[in-house]
């Protein structure tokens, strides 16, 4: 066997209030925007916004609720250090060194200590969470080789441009729009996290499945005359519209 440390893309849930019912309701709504994407996806809970108030949150219950919603809760970060043992008992992994509780700091030193802490946290955040900060559509992922059957490519918080073909049995996903300049033959999912403005552009539409913001359609079931032709796909309400790309 092999055990390796690797970076992976994970969703981070920033908890900003203590009302679990409300939180779960909001999360459920979010999930339903892109159920395929979120179903059984690992998730991290970030308590930075709660500060010491995190103490009052029932993390066993939160874990249970997340599981019920179809997420796989993985770990917690930025929780008060005093909670570590309790969280581990509740089945959580501690993802990042916890903040020392501000309560024990002297009042005079409080402000500067807090600022330093914040700066440090922000810095640590960068490699992992930079995509969350960048506005959607600013970043772009360019693929210059064919996406083959069985391969899956995901552009997190970014648009995707594929210069080669995508094969039947492949899957490309982006949180933004997707452009494909070779034949588009596999599955294609734009606005994977619910961006309804996302679009799909392609030179030769032969996809198996098209989806924007969770609304999907098999191409064989749509009565488009644009199969094999340049096309643009956008979302109009709940309906996917396939239009000619060239005028």
């Amino acid at each position: 066997m092999k055990l390796k440390g690797e970076m992976s893309m994970l969703n981070v849930l920033h908890v900003q209030e203590l009302d679990l019912e409300k939180l779960c309701a909001e999360l459920e709504q979010k999930r339903d925007e892109a159920p395929q994407f979120f179903m059984k996806s690992p998730i991290i809970v970030d308590c930075a916004d709660l500060g010491d108030a995190a103490e009052q949150l029932d993390f066993s219950l939160l874990r249970q609720k997340l599981l019920e919603l179809g997420f796989i809760p993985v770990g917690i970060r930025n929780n008060p250090v005093e909670m570590n043992a309790r969280l581990v008992d509740a089945g959580w992994a501690i993802m990042r060194e916890s903040r020392p509780s501000t309560a024990s700091t002297e009042v005079s030193g409080d402000v500067s200590a807090e600022t330093n802490q914040q700066a440090e946290v922000a810095q640590q955040d960068e490699p992992q969470a930079a995509p969350q900060v960048a506005p959607v559509g600013i970043k772009s992922l360019t693929i210059d080789r064919p996406v083959r059957s069985g391969q899956q490519v995901y552009a997190a918080d970014a648009d995707m441009t594929v210069l080669a073909q995508t094969s039947a049995g492949s899957e490309i996903m982006a949180d933004g729009s997707i452009h494909v300049y070779g034949p588009l033959r596999g599955r294609v999912l734009a606005g994977a996290r619910g961006n309804e403005q996302a679009r799909i552009f392609c030179q030769s539409l032969q996809a198996e499945l098209i989806a924007i913001a969770g609304r999907y359609q098999l191409l064989d079931e749509s009565d488009t005359e644009l199969k094999g032709k340049p096309a643009m796909i956008r979302l109009d309400g709940e309906k996917l519209i396939i239009e000619p790309l060239a005028h």
């Binding site: 080789r145 083959r148 059957s149 073909q165 049995g169």
Partner: protein, 268 residues
């Protein structure tokens, strides 16, 4: 600089071992010192097709486990100089192939051989993965039918994402080899055409081997089909080797009867 070439396909029964044997024999016949390794541990076939099954003493797994030296396990072909065969073990399974073990065998072969041809098993499991992991170039064997083409596409994806070259940020050079091609049946619409396959896979074509009885005959008699200079398949494999070595050779045996008759007169 020696080169490692994997012959792979994803799907079984498309002609990987036949092609490995023919290709390796062809390279050797052109004067390049060539070793061909059977990665199909547990279902060894290469030795049969090469006609050396009764000369196997030690195998690939013995060498990996340090139970035999490479010299002891390599079988020298009696027909072609420069050609050596490293047979698979019939009594083990694919788990016997460790990455480190395979790497050390390939590195040792590289010191002595110009070309190392890795005959991959079918599937996308460990044996196939090990066969392609150290490859510099790949020959993707495809039959003119949709499931074979789909599986080739899948293996191409693995090749470019999980091979050592891919991990090092390089690419594995790809060649498409279409086997069991029958121009008549393509014309009749029963088979995918050559152009369609190339379009679906978008990989440069290195050759088309026509469906031919001589392939089966050659396999059963333990002679690589490339040595049958009268057969169309044998000639097509010779073209493949020539193209691989950088020669410009036009495709043959890809059109239906009238032209085929012409070629038959010319070469038959």
């Amino acid at each position: 600089m020696s080169k490692v070439i994997v012959v792979t396909s994803g799907k079984g029964g498309v002609g990987k071992t036949t092609s490995s044997a023919a290709f390796a024999a062809g390279l050797a016949a052109k004067g390049h010192k060539t070793a061909v390794i059977d990665f199909d541990v547990g279902l060894r076939n290469l030795d049969l097709i090469m006609g050396v099954e009764r000369r196997v003493v030690y195998d690939f797994v013995n060498v990996i486990n340090g139970e035999a030296t490479l010299k002891q396990a390599l079988i020298k072909d009696k027909r072609v100089d420069n050609l050596y065969i490293l047979p698979a073990s019939q009594t083990r399974d694919k788990d016997a192939l460790s990455k480190e073990g395979v790497e050390s065998v390939i590195n040792e072969l590289k010191k002595e051989f110009d070309f190392i041809v890795c005959d991959s098993p079918a599937g996308i499991e460990k044996g196939a993965f090990m066969a392609l992991y150290f490859a510099d170039e790949a020959i993707i064997v495809t039959n003119p039918e949709v499931s074979s083409v789909r599986d080739s596409d899948r293996i191409l994806g693995i090749l470019q994402s999980r091979s050592k070259a891919a991990e090092d940020g390089k690419t594995v050079k790809e060649h498409l080899l279409i086997t069991r091609y029958s121009p008549d049946r393509v014309e009749g619409g029963d088979m995918l055409g050559m152009d369609d396959i190339v379009e679906i896979l978008s990989v440069p074509l290195i050759g088309v081997i026509p469906e031919s009885g001589s392939v089966l005959q050659a396999s059963n008699s333990g002679n690589p089909v490339i040595m049958d200079k009268d057969s169309e398949a044998g000639q097509a494999y010779q073209d493949v080797v020539a193209r691989f070595l950088g020669e410009e050779v036009p495709l043959r045996f890809i059109d239906v009867e009238p032209k085929k008759g012409f070629f038959q007169k010319l070469f038959g």
